[in-house]
Point group: C2
Chain length 269, copies 2
């Protein structure tokens, strides 16, 4: 894929502070960046917004809101408050989309947790719209169900997004999370016009870790060009985030790593 | 669940030889056992068959046939030969079912690998029927797609089994592999009358390993009683295998471990 589409998700260089990541993007001619809230908080929200404005970088997404399923009503209120803060931050940073990682179930009742996700989005969506922030439901890989998300298939995310039928709510496609799905082609077609983000990395044949074991594009098993073509056919022509959670690459020299990532993006996506 | 339904999958006590496992089952009053081919081979097929006959144990399954996707036609022939040997072994052991772990893709073409699975079953099924061996397609967790199986959902397994519509081919439900699936209830109903095996273990909140990190029943996140009720409603009243791949429990004293497993089976399934 053309390098112009590349957005660097900052978690890929977790060894860097936010100012270091911004500087590296500018130096390498990467035009977009995706931010994580805990990294923004380290630098400060206003300082981050100023840094980005000065840099001219586009913010393709902010990660993350969501985490809806709660143990009780007080917990639910805390989560709703935090989600409104996430919307505020996305608005201040001018992020294209606030990514929703929907959260795990607090107990063994998956059906109830899934209902809480829909209820949480229903509560948040008007606030997001009022603040001009688009929300993106990201289905996560089923191996992350107990720690991060009860939304584990694109079909589920499509069900949610179709039910609201709002221009302020779409789906985020992450290659690592969806590539295994036998229904992928069909569900991507179904998502046409509702895709609000696309993330790439690779699935290593022997995954060393459930969370922190992603590969660089081209190192693994995912047909990234095929997936990228299907996502584009479904209408997504915006930034493509490289988002790699991998403890090994976090020990590498960031400049050298980013140069390799840029080349792999061109060669393997 | 009543202890009478318990079948011990021998991989749960991988620290034991096959004769040790058989002896432990007899001692604890466990009536069924599930075997793995590499463990049978260690003891010898004829010797294993004799041991089992003498013990009075039922063999709920033999693991495994499958691994269909091949890199070329010679590889495909080798795999077909091995699958016929697996059928022969299942017949000699009197196993209720030969479990099919369908295999990973040899490259990035998942669609082609999935076609090879169907073609492989089509080739094997008449041989299985001729030898009185039932085959069971076991969908594996999507995190095992690159190492073990391109069949990752019960919907997919149901598609395959319905297409053949044979009493000699059914689906095997393993709680660990299917519990995350938003379509699970619907696909279990669809599988009514075609379930040929049911395996239990648990999903730990923080999975320590992609393959060898299963929990004991009741330690984790799966609603096992709810799943067991749905599987029974779909017609399965046969043995329920406890199949736990976990490097930590393989260091434990087998007698003490099996006593705990028996109690957890009664309390948590």
């Amino acid at each position: 894929m053309k390098a112009e589409r590349l957005s660097l998700n900052q978690i890929t260089v977790d060894q860097c502070s936010l100012p270091e990541t911004v500087a590296a993007c500018v130096e390498l001619g990467i035009g977009s960046v995706a931010l994580w809230r805990h990294k923004v908080a380290e630098t400060g929200l206003a300082e981050t917004a100023k840094l980005l404005q000065d840099s001219g970088l586009r913010v393709s997404s902010l990660c993350r809101g969501g985490m809806f399923p709660a143990v009780d009503s007080a917990d639910s209120r805390r989560r709703a408050d935090d989600n409104r803060r996430a919307v505020d931050e996305a608005a201040e940073l001018g992020a294209d989309v606030l990514v929703l990682v929907c959260g795990p179930a607090p107990d063994r009742d998956l059906a109830r947790a899934r209902r809480q996700v829909t209820e949480g989005i229903a509560e948040l969506l008007p606030y997001a719209q009022a603040n001009g922030v688009r929300l993106g439901v990201e289905p996560l890989h089923p191996m992350m169900i107990s720690a991060r998300s009860v939304v584990v298939t694109l079909a589920q995310a499509n069900d949610i997004v179709e039910a609201f039928d709002s221009p302020w709510l779409g789906v985020v496609i992450d290659a690592y999370h969806v590539w295994w799905d036998p229904e992928l082609a069909e569900q991507l077609r179904r998502a046409t016009g509702r895709i609000v983000g696309f993330h790439v990395s690779d699935w290593l044949q022997d995954t060393p870790d459930v969370v922190y074991g992603r590969g660089l594009m081209g190192e693994g098993m995912i047909d990234l060009p095929g997936l990228a073509a299907a996502v584009e056919a479904a209408g997504w022509t915006g930034p493509v985030e490289v988002e790699i959670l991998n403890k090994q690459i976090w020990t590498r020299d960031p400049s050298e790593l980013l140069a390799e990532i840029r080349q792999r993006f061109v060669d393997h996506v």
